[in-house]
Amino acid sequence: MHTANFRPLDVAAIRQDFPIFATEPPLAFLDSAASAQTPQPVVAAMDAYYDTYRSNIHRGIYRISEEATAQYERAREKVAKLINAPRARQIVFTRNTTEAINLVAYSWGSANIGEGDEIVLTVMEHHSNLVPWQMLAQRTGATLRFVEITDEGLLNFAHFRELLNEKTKLVAVTHVSNVLGTVNPLQSIIDAAHAVGAKVVVDAAQSVPHFRVDVQQLDCDFLAFSGHKMCGPTGIGVLYGKLPLLEEMPPFLGGGSMIRTVERDVSTYADVPAKFEAGTPSIAEAIGLGYAVDFITQAGLEAIHVHTQELLKYAHQRLQEIDGIVLYGPEPHQKAGVLSFNVEDIHPHDIAGILDMHGVAIRGGHHCAQPLMKKLDVIATARASFYLYNTLEDVERLHKGLRKAQELMLRRSRTVASTALRGENR
């Protein structure tokens, strides 16, 4: 069921905005979960800043600085609207998801987490939503608890409930797994966490680019995502926080822009969000992110989701035809955007290397999720990910490239059994 104004993607028209696809044959770019391509309107918006109103923001008295400030703040409003944040000032610009989560871990974490407190994570977290909490736990004496996954690659919700107790101060969870593609039941997670008085940090790096995320409906306390996975530039990310939390939190980095008054020994701090945006920010990149929000909302987030679901379903179907392939994660309808797999006896680096020879870009490695690799009992996986500019033809070329990889790598029997698929525990 689609909403009334649903309009399917015009993929051919969308691809016109990405000069990188202009070659023949076009690049089959299946690595958007790592970083998406940037459309021409986003690049043009950043060029316009550099060419016509390049200046620092906030304190300039002259016209182009006022223009830069207005564009930077306009981007904040666009991001706020995208995730339905009540106020634009609840949007803090960071470098990326990683910096946004570190901001929460240092600022909120150091003020609110102490010895004996528990932080609940899942085994499917990206290192960016794991290592900051390890570092916080080491500083404070708090304990990390990990929610396991089911054999299907879904979050074990019963286990999550078991881990929650009055000592749980924080739940840090990814909305969509960057390896399995699993869409977690975020609403139920947040409701259950709040029932024991815990705050919730959401890693939305893989969800905001793909479907509508509504922070008011979810009632999450913090939510982080990156510009570069949603058609924006690198170097710009977002932290959303509930206003009372952001207001109570101590600053993260000290410096210019984040102060109200500075004396020799003490300072008072600016209001949110300036309090968390010390130093000259990524101005062009923030403006570019605003245009990326325009780009994906004009395409339609619902249409993007429908399109990538179609690609994901087709990829599941085609890849399952390949002998010796293992697909990770749940069924396509429980996933968003990514498909991880291994082909028996071929190392993911070799899969990626051979596909590259055929103009297909995928990722092979641990995807910054080493605990999950261990859980899946693999060294690494190959991963194809899909976005609004991908086509069924891209999936066909992935399929064809995998067949070629098999022809090349499995010609003769090897004297040494490959361990590409084998983990330490097997």
């Binding site: 070799d350 020879m357 641990h366 690799m373 060294i379 090349l408 090897r414 004297t415």
Partner: protein, 129 residues
């Protein structure tokens, strides 16, 4: 020229010196943090000469072929001579251009060898960095 040449694939499919030594004089194992590939090298050394060498572990074509070629190269040589092997020597053995990620795959066996035999922990080519 691509990285899936016959010679490399032959080393990958039928590597030389694959296995472990029962009582190695030197044994060292490391992984590549980029991809989790893991290589172990065992050496049997007499009077400063590498008499026996075996490698084991798991990895991609490049890391396993590089390990196979490296063990062929060092068998019978002195530890002093082997210490001189450089990043460029390995890349010459591989014989085809590699991107920065795959270069690490190629250099992992030499890194393991140098850490085990000489306590050199830096990546080959980055010793002075």
């Amino acid at each position: 020229m691509n990285i899936y040449q016959e010679e490399l694939l032959d080393h990958y499919e039928n590597p030389s010196n694959y296995g472990t030594l029962p009582n190695p004089d030197i044994s060292h194992e490391e992984d590549n943090p980029l991809c989790g590939d893991r290589i172990r090298i065992d050496l049997g050394v007499e009077d400063g000469i590498i008499k026996k060498v075996r490698f084991s572990g798991h990895g991609c074509t490049i890391s396993l072929a590089a390990a196979s070629m490296l063990t062929e190269e060092i068998a019978g040589k002195s530890l002093a001579e082997v210490k001189q092997l450089s990043r460029d020597d390995i890349l010459e053995m591989i014989g085809i251009p590699l991107g920065p990620v795959r270069v690490k795959c190629a250099l992992l066996p030499l890194k393991v060898l140098k850490a085990g035999a000489y306590g050199i922990t830096a990546w080959p080519g980055e010793e002075d960095a």
